[in-house]
């Protein structure tokens, strides 16, 4: 009997490490696919830069207006580019039947959700990291404030947590990509309001006591919606 124990152990690895392995496999797959095709990041980036360009004309971003609207422009850009990325990342799974393959794998479905979400988050971060310096150079403002980076981190997490869940629903409908922003934007409004307010607070050097409630709101949103998405994702991909 003693000899059996290691055998049993190797057949059933500890659930947590299995979860992590499945999750990182999904993330890795997305990164590798992106590294070869570069279609997602390049379209997100070009789109983001176009949005900033359009805002330049739409708002006449002179020095005076700039200080007050910068955070708004940034977040609208991130939101639009993010929708593009979320849509593409899920449509890719759906088009080539990859999602079915993923679902057939004997792993926890929530590992697939977290894998996709982390992949989307990485893409969103890459776009944000490129957009920030470009915006700084184009409009001659310094955006490298640690507080702003924290807000971008928290805001993106909340946005992607809901976005990944809703995009996996949107790709399975008849209207597909049209539907994602309609589903996502009204639900993500708290993220936008809090992120814009907190970002402009940091950029304008407001007191921490005034920014704190917005950060708390962002963290609350992140926690609530990551856990809800984790709980309901099973029902979204069920066949």
């Amino acid at each position: 009997m003693k000899g059996d124990i290691p055998l049993v152990r190797s057949a059933r690895p500890a659930p947590v490490s299995g979860f992590l392995r499945a999750m990182s496999a999904v993330v890795w797959k997305d990164l590798a696919a992106e590294l070869r095709s570069r279609e997602l990041l390049s379209s997100m980036l070009v789109f983001a830069l176009l949005v900033i360009l359009i805002f330049n004309f739409a708002l006449e971003l002179d020095t005076k207006t700039r200080s007050t609207v910068t955070s708004g422009v940034l977040w609208v850009t991130f939101a639009f580019a993010g929708t593009l990325g979320l849509n593409r990342s899920m449509a890719m799974e759906k088009d080539r039947g990859c999602l079915d393959g993923l679902l057939l794998a004997p792993v926890d479905r929530s590992a697939i959700y977290f894998g996709k979400a982390i992949g989307n988050l990485i893409f969103m971060f890459i776009v944000e990291i490129i957009v920030l310096p470009v915006y700084s150079v184009l409009y001659n403002t310094n955006l490298f404030h640690p507080g702003l980076l924290l807000v971008i981190l928290l805001g993106s997490i909340g946005y992607v947590a809901v976005g990944t869940l809703l995009s996996s629903m949107a790709v399975q409908t008849r209207t597909r990509d049209v539907l994602l922003p309609i589903l996502l934007f009204p639900v993500a409004i708290p993220v936008f309001i809090a992120a814009v307010k907190a970002s402009s607070g940091f950029l304008q050097g407001t007191e921490m006591a005034e920014i704190q409630p917005w950060l708390t709101l962002l963290i609350t949103y992140d926690v609530i919606f990551t856990s809800v998405a984790f709980m309901v994702f099973d029902y979204v991909v069920e066949e």
Partner: protein, 232 residues
């Protein structure tokens, strides 16, 4: 073909009678508000409609959770019915609010937290209906609808809090008022009775409509099945 339940007929009659009484109370029983005059009377149905809207969305979210756990179609019908009724009343709430705001705030619309939240809430449930429309498979439609009803409902309080961190001018008639609220007033006992009765009436209307709508949904299902049988 099942006939209409007796209790539902009784409830219909009770609803109509209560609505007539409530309307009478609003115009004849409740005293005129000293500062705002007659336009204040919109308040009774305004708040009651808002309450029913929220109730509808709450019921939709709960029915969504129960559907996901049990997978029984009735709960999906209940969830959709509650959303539809909730949307109608939320819309009545916004429109009556605008009618009141025009003379009191001197504008039809302002970006106050409650107004913002009400609008975003309407948009969420419009998206819910669009989502359902885009899916043919009834099982998947029900699952996605339930998920979105839950996610949407959870975001509403957060939207409200985030909008509230901006300053508000909306009066809080029940509970303590923030300084700067415009158009606030204290209710006299007669006003309070009218208000409570309106709330009760609208809740009964909600139950009655929900019952009708669920029954309609079930009948529509039955028709669908019969059609398939005839064609197949």
């Amino acid at each position: 073909m099942e006939s209409k339940p007796r209790l539902l007929t009784i409830l219909d009659i009770a609803t109509i009678v209560m609505l007539v009484i409530a309307t009478g109370m609003v115009f004849l029983y409740a005293p005129m508000e000293a500062v705002m005059g007659n336009v204040q009377r919109v308040f009774y149905f305004h708040v009651a409609a808002g309450w029913v809207g929220m109730l509808g969305f709450l019921v939709a979210a709960i029915a969504g959770i129960v559907y996901l756990r049990t997978g029984r179609r009735e709960w999906d019908i209940a969830s959709l019915s509650a959303v539809e009724i909730g949307m109608v009343f939320a819309f009545i709430n916004v429109v009556t609010g605008a009618i009141w705001a025009r003379p009191i705030w001197n504008t039809w619309w302002t970006w106050d937290p409650r107004l913002t939240t009400a609008t975003i809430m309407l948009l969420i449930y419009a998206a819910y209906l669009l989502l359902r429309q885009g899916i043919e498979d009834p099982d998947r439609r029900a699952r996605f609808g339930a998920v979105y009803a839950i996610v949407g409902f959870l975001s509403v309080p957060l939207t409200f809090f985030s909008a509230r961190l901006f300053r508000t001018i909306h009066p809080v008639v029940i509970g303590s008022n923030q300084p700067g609220a415009e158009g606030a007033f204290d209710m006299t006992p007669l006003m309070l009775q009218t208000f409570m009765f309106s709330l009760l009436t609208f809740s009964i209307i909600f139950v009655d409509l929900l019952w009708h709508r669920i029954r309609l949904g079930k009948l529509a299902d039955k028709v669908e099945q019969m059609k398939l049988k005839v064609m197949g």
